[in-house]
Amino acid sequence: MSNKIVVGYDGSDSSKATLDFAVGLAKSQGAAIVVAHVLEWSPYSFLTPNELEERHKRRAEELERAETAVLAPVVKGLADSGVTVTTALKYGGIADTLCDIVEAEGATQVVVGRTGHSGLSSRIFGSVAGTLAQISPVPVTIVP
């Protein structure tokens, strides 16, 4: 059975360090890497009529931007690393969606950074890493 590691990646410096760590891990274990980027989204937020109308268009733009600006450079950067790299791009709550990706990919481990983009809000609302550690179906590695 192939060994897969899901890495939470958002393009921040800390997530780059996390990715480096995961690549090292994958090499030592002969595993493949799934670079997962989650666009934070709640179906229970409030939008104006104009935002409703433009939502579908914005979503397409956001996916496009994430694909080209965040994920494509990673795949390119790891092309010569000898590790098999695939990507996953989803909308949702970050921790929950990472778990969904782990299950969908049949991954055996998940690696995330301790802090993402929003240090302050994670202090108030709880961090992604903390939540993931509690709800993940597979072992979680948190990279400081």
Binding site: L39, W41, P43, Y44, S45, F46, L47, T48, P49, N50, E51, L52, E53, E54, R55, H56, K57, R59, A60, E62, L63, K90, Y91, G92, D100
Partner: protein, 514 residues
């Protein structure tokens, strides 16, 4: 020479300042007179009673429509209620569609366009004229209206226009043109144009002037009386900044604060009701007795019924067609699901929130009745019920809530201003959709409508409540006249959609994702 010029220049502003208050008052009066005289014919046509009675035909029109939809779809509002809740919770949403507009978001946006002054001021008007009995008819109209809303929102999604850039435009004008063509019916285009004209008037009336008017009344109630056009200009400037200046931050802040204000309003009402728990039974007694006898109100039972139905329709807009515009933005494979979700709107708006307002007004004893007979006493004009402090409209609701919590009048003032503002933003969008349907999409054309919209904010804040509320009602009901004709013609399409969906739901083809 030079000296005298200087003197004159100096004197002019002083004189202007001295006459300003008088001028301001007369300016309000002028706007009011002009407005009342130019819209009077339209109002009297829409509200003309059946010959020999005092029953306006438009009220019968709405009630009959809601009844027909309720029967035709087999009490859909009760049968589909649990399924509607699961849809809003996202039980049936495909996780791969995350990031698109959810059912919850469409419902919340449509609600923030309808929950507002109708629930606060409108109910006070209904109870102030029709007595507690109006509440009964209001609830009944709310329950029946759920079926009308279901019909129109399903059609709105089914026949919307999707453009290449990913945006959508939908609403009655689109189902009138496309749906009628599909069924081979004539006059779809004509009706769509008529609807659009009324929708623009409705946007300027109930969606704008009534809001500005009551927001001014509320501010004046807290800080003391001052000319309405001042509030009008301030409001118009902010609306201008949002809809023309593209200042999205104000709109999105409002959009986020409004739901909390709504929840807070309901919770406060609940607390007041719990504090007076022993009187709830009595209040419902008044509501039932009033519904069938009128308890002395002008027009008796019929008076109570007319007020209840009118204000319910004005508040939840079922059958009016506005919600069909708001709900069209949802991407769903099944248009009927949007219909299911939208039927919760009249329930939340009218059956829950309006009833809360009415109960608080009744329980806090704002309406004056004769202790000997139990009949309500009328004002000098014999049209409205006497209230403790002579309050009408939003001031009556404010007095009712403040009698228990003195501070609530400030919270309510903020809530009213925010509700008024969010309703204006929603209706500016509905009006714009009708405008672009008539005149085509285009930057300059859109700006023209938006500027007109802002001018009406000032007119609405300056005019008296009477003419404004009459015109607002008339314009909104005129939309319903055209829209309901279209709903009658297209309801078999909704029925086909409904049967197909329900059978697939039963067979397990449509399943929960979560």
């Amino acid at each position: 020479m030079r000296n005298s010029f200087k003197k004159a220049a100096w004197a002019a502003p002083v004189m202007l300042a001295a006459t300003a208050p008088a001028m301001a008052q007369s300016m309000d009066q002028k706007i009011n007179d002009m407005f009342a005289s130019s819209t009077g014919w339209f109002v009297s046509f829409i509200f003309s009673p059946f010959p020999g009675t005092s029953f306006p035909w438009i009220v019968a029109w709405l009630v009959i429509a809601a009844t027909i939809f309720t029967i035709y779809f087999g009490l859909i509002q009760f049968r589909a209620f649990p399924h509607s809740i699961s849809l809003v919770k996202g039980d049936y949403s495909d996780p791969d569609d995350a990031g698109e507009v959810s059912h919850f978001q469409a419902l919340a946006t449509a609600l923030s366009g309808t929950v507002g002054l109708g629930n606060i001021a409108g109910v006070a008007v209904a109870v102030g004229i029709g007595g507690p009995g109006a509440t009964f008819w209001m609830i009944l109209a709310g329950l029946m209206g759920m079926a009308s809303k279901f019909t129109e929102c399903t059609l709105g999604v089914k026949y919307r226009n999707e453009y290449e850039d990913g945006t959508v435009s939908g609403g009655p004008m689109y189902y009138m043109t496309k749906g009628f063509a599909e069924r081979g019916l004539p006059a779809g285009k004509f009706m769509a144009i008529l609807f659009s004209v009324f929708c623009i008037l409705g946007a300027l009336g109930g969606g704008n002037m009534f809001q500005a008017n009551q927001a001014h009344a509320q501010i004046a109630n807290v800080v003391g009386d001052f000319p309405g056009w001042i509030t009008g200009i301030v409001f118009a400037t902010i609306v201008f900044a949002v809809i023309i200046g593209g200042l999205k931050s104000i709109a999105s802040v409002t959009e986020k604060v409004v739901p909390f204000m709504g929840v807070m309003y309901v919770l406060t009402a609940l607390v007041i009701l719990l504090m007076n728990a022993d009187m709830i039974g009595w209040a419902f007694g008044q509501i039932f007795a009033g519904a069938f006898t009128g308890l002395g109100v002008a027009g008796g039972m019929v008076g109570a019924l007319i007020q209840g139905f009118k204000r319910a329709a004005f508040s939840n807009e079922a059958g009016v067609g506005s919600a069909a515009i708001a709900h069209s933005a949802v991407r769903t494979k099944e248009p009927i699901t949007e219909g299911f979700v939208s039927l919760l709107e009249p329930f939340i708006d009218t059956v829950v929130i309006c009833t809360m307002t009415a109960l608080v007004i009744i329980i806090t004893g704002q309406l004056v009745s004769d202790p000997a007979t139990g009949m309500y006493l009328l004002d000098e004009g014999a049209s409205t019920i006497q209230t403790i402090d002579g309050n009408k409209g939003v001031a009556l609701t404010s007095a009712a809530f403040s009698s228990t919590f003195g501070w609530f009048k400030y919270v309510l003032a903020i809530a009213v201003i925010l509700f008024a503002f969010s309703t204006m933003i929603s209706w500016s969008y509905y009006g714009l959709k009708a405008w672009t349907f008539l005149f085509g999409e285009g930057h300059t054309k859109e700006i023209v409508f938006k500027v007109i919209f802002c001018i009406f904010v000032v007119i609405g804040a300056s005019a008296n409540l009477g003419p404004v509320i009459d015109f607002s009602d008339a314009a909104i009901f005129a939309m319903a006249v055209v829209n309901i004709v279209a709903l009658y013609c297209l309801m078999p399409i909704v029925k086909t959609e409904l049967n197909s969906y329900l059978s697939r739901l039963k067979s397990g083809e449509i399943r929960k994702f979560h």
